[in-house]
């Protein structure tokens, strides 16, 4: 059910994004209603991944929770890649370069590296229990890095060090803000649907693995 709502929501959001007046001094405004929601959804999905892994570790050790955590981290990673790619296109038209070592850009790159390392760690551990324990700890650390990298680090730099506008999310006019958060909700729902489907596959894979071990 959620997938129908999410898709319709995103469809409406897309149209809203295109009919919005040009925001501030940005060229190619509609991309902002895609790029920013994906970046925020990425963070949301990473937080959810950490929540599922904590649920695995401290509330019941249900392998399905671990599978969900993996799914959310994976989909969040893809969302981050898309946000970074669209951000680079956006940066090319507005700031004149695909990559300008903007603190926010580097922060997201660092976050993506963290999750790449997380997947590497999962691949490099043989024992299922150990694998999931290490995953939990590193997933929580990943959220820490995501917050520090993308929101805290730029606070210590001089105010104009980041090319990202500082308070678009909270200080724009109501219409712009509505369009932005409408799109955030839509993409977040759509990505959560995708993550749920991915989790179902992981759960099936786990059961098949179990069966191989039992030898039936």
């Amino acid at each position: 059910m959620l997938k129908f709502i999410a898709s319709a929501w995103v469809l409406v959001g897309l149209v809203i994004g295109f009919v919005m007046p040009r925001a501030q001094d940005l060229k190619t405004t509609p991309i902002a209603f895609f790029h920013v929601p994906l970046a925020i959804s990425m963070l949301l999905l990473f937080v959810l991944a950490a929540v599922w892994s904590i649920k695995w570790a401290f509330f019941g050790r249900d392998a399905r929770d671990d599978a969900r955590s993996l799914a959310f981290a994976e989909v969040g990673f893809v969302a981050g890649l898309i946000a970074m790619a669209t951000g680079m296109l956006f940066a090319r038209t507005n700031w004149g370069a695909y990559w300008s070592w903007d603190p926010q850009q580097v922060g997201v790159l660092g976050t993506l590296l963290t999750y790449a390392a997380l997947f590497a760690l999962r691949g490099a551990t043989d024992d299922e229990g150990t694998k999931r324990k290490l995953w939990t700890v590193y997933a929580v650390l990943g959220v820490l890095v995501a917050c520090f990298g993308s929101y805290v680090y730029r606070q210590i730099l001089p105010p104009n060090a980041s090319l990202h506008p500082n308070q678009t999310l909270t200080n724009s006019d109501a219409l712009f803000k509505f369009a932005l958060w409408f799109n955030v909700a839509g993409y977040a729902m759509l990505l959560i649907c995708a993550a749920n489907v991915r989790a179902r596959f992981e759960i099936i894979a786990n059961r098949l693995d179990e069966r191989v071990w039992r030898g039936t």
Binding site: V106, G110, V140, L141, G142, L144, Q155, I156
Partner: protein, 224 residues
């Protein structure tokens, strides 16, 4: 409560002492880390001899060097336990909290000793001007604390993965990226860059605190 916390402190200290003693007998890690932290600034000095570096760049370079030096020595703490098969004994004898704090104190001591040599060498070879000594000291202690805590947690994780700790730099680098960047900014301020160092110091302290929390909770999970 009191006897309990005394027992804990004693256990943590025992782990710390054991690590120091083992290190002192072989001096393998200490030598490797100290040599690297001397060699790296020399290499940098070679390739950057004709450049005029800004204080910001010097601060960032200092922490990159210190991080990579730490990467050589710090994962050893757990890898050698796994290799010699003593980790099971350690698990039996001490609670995970005691092991965590003991190991972290050992890492911290190792870092401090090597930096006693490494930081002055760096400053001399790269021609940095230390404008604010207390700030540099504060940043160093805060940074070492973060490096020690995170390397204890991540080192224990990496030692259990395939390849015994080979994964450590790959795991630690992205986690510490915002932390190292902040340390670089604060150190740049100590070298005379015009940035607000109070904010940076507060971020360092916040990251340390977050690592204490993550370490205490996470280590129990990883270690058991």
């Amino acid at each position: 409560m009191k006897p309990n916390s005394q027992v804990f402190a004693k256990a943590a200290f025992a782990v710390f002492q054991k690590d120091l003693l083992a290190e002192w007998r072989s001096r393998a890690t200490l030598g490797a880390v100290a040599l690297f932290s001397l060699a790296a600034p020399i290499t940098l000095g070679f390739s950057l001899a004709q450049q005029k570096l800004t204080p910001e760049a010097q601060g960032a370079l200092l922490w990159s060097v210190l991080f990579f030096a730490a990467c050589i020595g710090l994962p050893r703490a757990f890898v050698k336990e796994e290799e010699s098969g003593t980790s099971a004994l350690l698990r039996l004898h001490f609670g995970s909290d005691a092991v965590f704090w003991g190991k972290a104190a050992g890492q911290m001591a190792l870092l401090m000793v090597t930096q006693l040599a490494a930081i002055p060498t760096f400053i001399l070879l790269l021609g940095a001007r230390v404008g604010n000594v207390p700030l540099l000291l504060a940043v160093t202690v805060g940074g070492d604390l973060g490096l020690a805590l995170s390397s204890t947690l991540i080192g224990a994780m990496a030692a259990q993965a395939r390849g015994r700790g080979a994964l450590f730099p790959a795991l630690a680098a992205p986690i510490l990226l915002p932390f190292l960047a902040t340390l670089g900014v604060a150190t740049g301020a100590a070298f005379g860059a015009r940035v607000d160092s109070t904010n940076a110091l507060m971020v360092v302290a916040a990251f340390d605190l977050a690592l204490v929390g993550a370490g205490v909770l996470g280590f129990e999970l990883v270690w058991k």
